[in-house]
Symmetry: C2
């Protein structure tokens, strides 16, 4: 199953904001056994958004999640970019407008004027449906394009997470069926990453579906520190755990033989 | 001028690592007046790397910076992916191999064996040149493809930064010529983002080259907090500063008239 992410916003490109939304979604997907395939970040620019969208859809993902650019300001143009990319018109969606009104009522602002800027948050590509946003004003949006389900979420992290949990994740899980993922981390000293490399190569050949990766963690008193992450996805937790444990044992044994000192091996949540 | 970034690594896609390298490079580019155009993040996978590379080159950027995947482990495959994307063969580069040897000598490991894993860091696409890495083992790589200069940097932040400062930034600046960028931030309360939107629209029409963006900062005691960033790029600092200040004054005046209370307006570094 292929999931891609499109994050929109100049603040991400000029380094004002760290892309923590991409990290959060990546983690949530990893937790259900999925590796996000590509993350694309583009500017608040109609042509950049629509051309990125078209390129992503050419790779035929099962899900495309866009984050950011759903708000009331003129540089919030993700939905218009999606529409342009799909050659769709946009239209004021009455259901989305009701959600926006309800949000203001909940905030005690029932008398607020629905200015063009506020109505803009209810203007969706034709065929799209609004998705409830319990944490803010702009609804999320769900749209099907070919074999891809597109979810558009706001960039404010609390709102993005709320809609992801409530609407995106349940649909991803339904499509995926049950899967389990088990992760371990080994910390060791005394082996350089270049000495660890052939060891990991051998393990990856033995366990082709597994994720095994070393991370150099610097040198202290002339001794290399290294961490090795091991992750296995399987149909149930017992199978995932057993294979991951087997890999951990093999790595511990081989690296000890190569002169490493194992500092810890731990379950990762 | 168009600059794109390709960050490679499963750890970014599963949320193990925040993409701070993208943020750091985005900031460095913004400082010289450039907005990075697209950031693409892909898995350690030959086909994903090479197809992302081809898509990026189709957009004809002046610079493409790749980060990650230059190390000795089997999942470090950025250079092979670049070569595949450009239909180039790879070859052991003797200058790169000397740099790697020198690095081990500097670390007091002159007698270290140049295993295949270690030599792999010197295998470059044909026509590429190694770029010195003062902070680690794997050299950076510079390669010209059509009108695009491709720099490949390691993913370890200290190494990436060292090569960026030493080799990438000087070349970007040379191509760009002198430019200055001035940024201000206004903090205010009492205005919702949807009320700020038409105000910003008007300013953007008056100052088409400027960057003006509002960021909602939550609600305290029923009062909306909002920040507005203003940035102007110009040929010299005086011109950038003057235009940015004019925009700040116009926003302060209009939002005060709309009921906002200005909390601060400050220079940003």
């Amino acid at each position: 199953m292929r999931v891609e992410l499109l994050t929109v916003g100049k603040e991400l490109l000029i380094g004002r904001t760290l892309n923590t939304n991409a990290q959060w979604i990546g983690r949530r997907l990893a937790r259900v056994g999925l590796v996000m395939k590509v993350v694309t970040t583009v500017d608040d620019d109609l042509d950049e958004i629509s051309s990125a969208l078209r390129e992503i859809l050419r790779r035929k993902p099962d899900f495309l999640i866009t984050v950011g650019g759903l708000g009331p300001t003129p540089d919030d143009m993700t939905l218009e970019g999606v529409a342009q990319g799909l050659h769709l018109r946009t239209k004021l969606n009455s259901q989305a407008l009701s959600m926006i009104k309800e949000h203001y009522v909940r905030r005690g602002l029932a008398a607020i004027e629905l200015t063009p800027a506020r109505r803009k948050m209810a203007v969706l590509p034709l065929g799209a449906l609004p998705v409830p946003n319990d944490a803010g004003t702009a609804p999320g949006v769900r749209l099907v394009a070919g074999q891809t389900v597109i979810f558009s979420l706001p960039g404010v992290p609390s709102e993005m997470r709320s809609i992801y949990r409530g609407s995106v994740e349940p649909e991803v899980k339904r499509k995926l069926g049950p899967l389990a993922r088990k992760t371990f981390r080994i910390k060791m000293t005394g082996l350089m990453e270049s000495a660890m490399a052939p060891l990991i190569s051998r393990e990856l050949k033995r366990h082709p579906g597994a994720y095994i990766k070393s991370h150099p963690r610097g040198i202290e008193d002339g001794v290399s520190k290294i961490e090795v992450d091991v992750a296995v996805v399987a149909r149930d937790m017992k199978a995932a755990r057993n294979e991951a444990l087997r890999i951990v044992e093999e790595i511990v044994e081989a690296s000890t033989a190569a002169g490493a000192t194992i500092k810890s091996r731990s379950d990762e949540p």
